[in-house]
């Protein structure tokens, strides 16, 4: 059984006996996992490659459903409902739980249209409202000053770091409750990385954040809670500082001191 610290905050998401099996795989990639996710906090998921941290992250918005044959069991509770239920409205779920990917995913359209995309999907047509919310989202993502004179330009002309902040703006424009970050800085240079990290910390006032990272320093810098996963299981979930300074599980200690990974 995993060592799980008491969470002071409210709970945003609760994972219960969760198992996930990829299509055609003989064994589950995540095994009987239990884990609370704190509200308005940042939870980092760390662990060696193949430990299941990205697989777990991609279960929270059920993006796995795009590929046929993947199997879930157990429960992920969000507002007391099990989002793994076949009856779950995936479009509504993905509006409430947004996602930022490893590589920036700017759509082949203008900067403005990129940020407005999610709002337009929700049927917002009023031009002034769209313009206001696009500006606000870009400001919140700390990129407004750089792009305000070229909102009509192709978003693919931006640098990698700018594109990633644009993607964050696009995700927060629809006002989600939870944001999932899948190694959001692994394709970026150190300066852009610092910018994104600062942004993530600011965002936790409004959203609950789960971030998967290969970089333990990043987890230590930004997160409130850190979960260490190994071979599809959660080994330990702790307050970030405690977990890095004084891990309770031997495996966690071996991983953070670099004995394997």
């Amino acid at each position: 059984m995993a060592t799980i610290v008491d969470i002071k905050e409210d709970i945003a998401l609760k994972v219960k006996d969760f198992e996930f099996t990829y299509a055609g795989a003989p064994a589950p990639s995540i095994k009987k996992l239990n884990m609370p996710i704190a509200k308005n906090s940042i939870t980092a998921l760390i662990g060696p490659s193949g430990c299941g941290k990205t697989t777990l992250l991609r279960s929270f918005n059920r993006i796995h459903d795009l590929y046929p044959g993947n199997k879930y069991s157990g429960e992920i509770l969000f507002h007391d409902r099990n989002i793994l239920s076949p009856k779950e409205d995936l479009i509504g779920l993905r509006i409430q739980i947004g996602m930022i990917f490893q590589k920036p995913t700017a759509f082949p359209m203008s900067i403005f249209d990129n940020v407005a995309y999610g709002m337009k999907l929700q049927g917002i047509k009023n031009k002034t409202e769209l313009a206001d919310r696009v500006e606000k989202a870009l400001q919140d993502a700390a990129i407004w000053k750089e792009v305000k004179d070229r909102l009509k330009h192709d978003a693919n002309g931006l640098s990698g770091g700018q594109q990633q902040r644009l993607c964050i703006a696009r995700a927060i424009a629809v006002e989600p409750e939870v944001l999932l970050f899948d190694e959001p800085t692994s394709a970026l240079d150190p300066i852009s990385t610092t910018g994104i990290e600062e942004l993530v910390v600011e965002l936790k006032e409004r959203v609950s954040i789960i971030i998967v990272t290969h970089n333990m320093q990043q987890a230590a810098r930004v997160s409130d809670y850190t979960g260490f996963m190994y071979l599809g299981e959660l080994i330990e979930l702790g307050n970030t500082e405690e977990l890095f300074v004084n891990p309770r599980e031997k495996l966690t200690e071996e991983y953070i001191t670099g004995k394997f990974g």
Partner: protein, 281 residues
């Protein structure tokens, strides 16, 4: 006595000379064809070509208007039917069928169709359209051209859509987009230039077809815009005029060959420019 290095240099020079010569011969023929076409074609060009219909040999006042308009009808209608069918089928393969057995079978059949001799497709349309109707018709010609065009557009669309990174699709789904909106608003946009190139290449591919039209739309020496009747095309007209013993008809044949080549050359160049621009970004 040659040293080892000298020998290697000599061999190197021989191979380089041979391959350069071969390349020059290949390009030489291309420019020869173009040169002869331009020499004879431009000579035969005049305003009458575009304003007058065909006439019996010996009439000074004759042109290709019937063939130009017939060609536009035949290729235009084939494009109107073939492009949406090809794009939708390509979309099915890339976005819905993916690696399923049905999708892979369609891909294989489409590849076989792409290399099928066009005269066979002409014979097929003769059997299923011309024979039951009892006569040649513009529709039969357009159907034959559509069948030839379809696999080209289908496969380019499929390939171009698959080139759109799957993370882009995931990002759109992650914002709560339904599948049809992901395809229409994100995937198509990403593959726009490629799909357009496929359409142009498809049109260029059927624009120069003669064999399937001989069996289907046949020919007409006068202007006809009734798709139910036989219809003139540049290619078949060119074939008839060029093989005739009359000087003035042969001249018209050259003019037809010139116009047709410029049309197809133009389409190919536009296609290349689109591809180059896309790579340049």
């Amino acid at each position: 006595m040659m040293t080892h290095t000298q020998k290697r240099k000599l061999i190197n020079n021989i191979v380089m000379a041979l391959s350069t010569l071969s390349a020059l011969i290949g390009i030489g023929f291309l420019f020869w064809i173009l040169g002869v076409l331009i020499y004879n074609g431009v000579d035969a060009l005049n305003m009458n070509i575009f304003t007058l219909e065909g006439a019996p040999p010996g009439y000074a006042q004759s042109g290709l208007k019937h063939a130009l308009i017939g060609q536009l009808y035949l290729v235009g209608i084939a494009t109107v039917i073939g492009v949406p069918l090809g794009i939708l089928a390509g979309t099915y393969l890339s976005e819905y069928g993916q690696k399923s057995r049905l999708a892979e079978t369609i891909r294989d059949i489409s590849d076989i169709m792409m290399s099928a001799p066009s005269i066979v497709i002409g014979a097929f349309v003769y059997a299923i359209v011309v024979a039951p109707m009892g006569h040649f018709s513009g529709w039969a010609g357009s159907i034959a051209l559509t069948i030839i065009m379809l696999p080209v557009i289908l496969r380019t669309t499929d390939d171009m859509l698959q080139l759109v990174p799957s993370t882009l699709r995931e990002a759109a789904f992650a914002l709560g987009a339904p599948k049809y909106k992901v395809i229409l608003q994100v995937v198509y946009r990403g593959a726009k230039a490629g799909i357009l190139t496929g359409i142009l290449l498809g049109i260029a591919r059927v624009g120069g077809e003669t064999a399937p039209l001989l069996f289907t739309s046949f020919n007409d020496n006068f202007l006809n815009t009734d798709m139910m009747e036989p219809m003139a095309s540049l290619t078949v007209t060119m074939y008839n005029y060029a093989t005739s013993p009359y000087d003035d008809w042969q001249k018209l044949g050259w003019a037809a060959a010139f116009i047709l080549s410029m049309f197809i050359l133009g389409l190919n160049i536009i296609g290349r420019i689109i591809i180059m621009k896309r790579k340049g970004r």
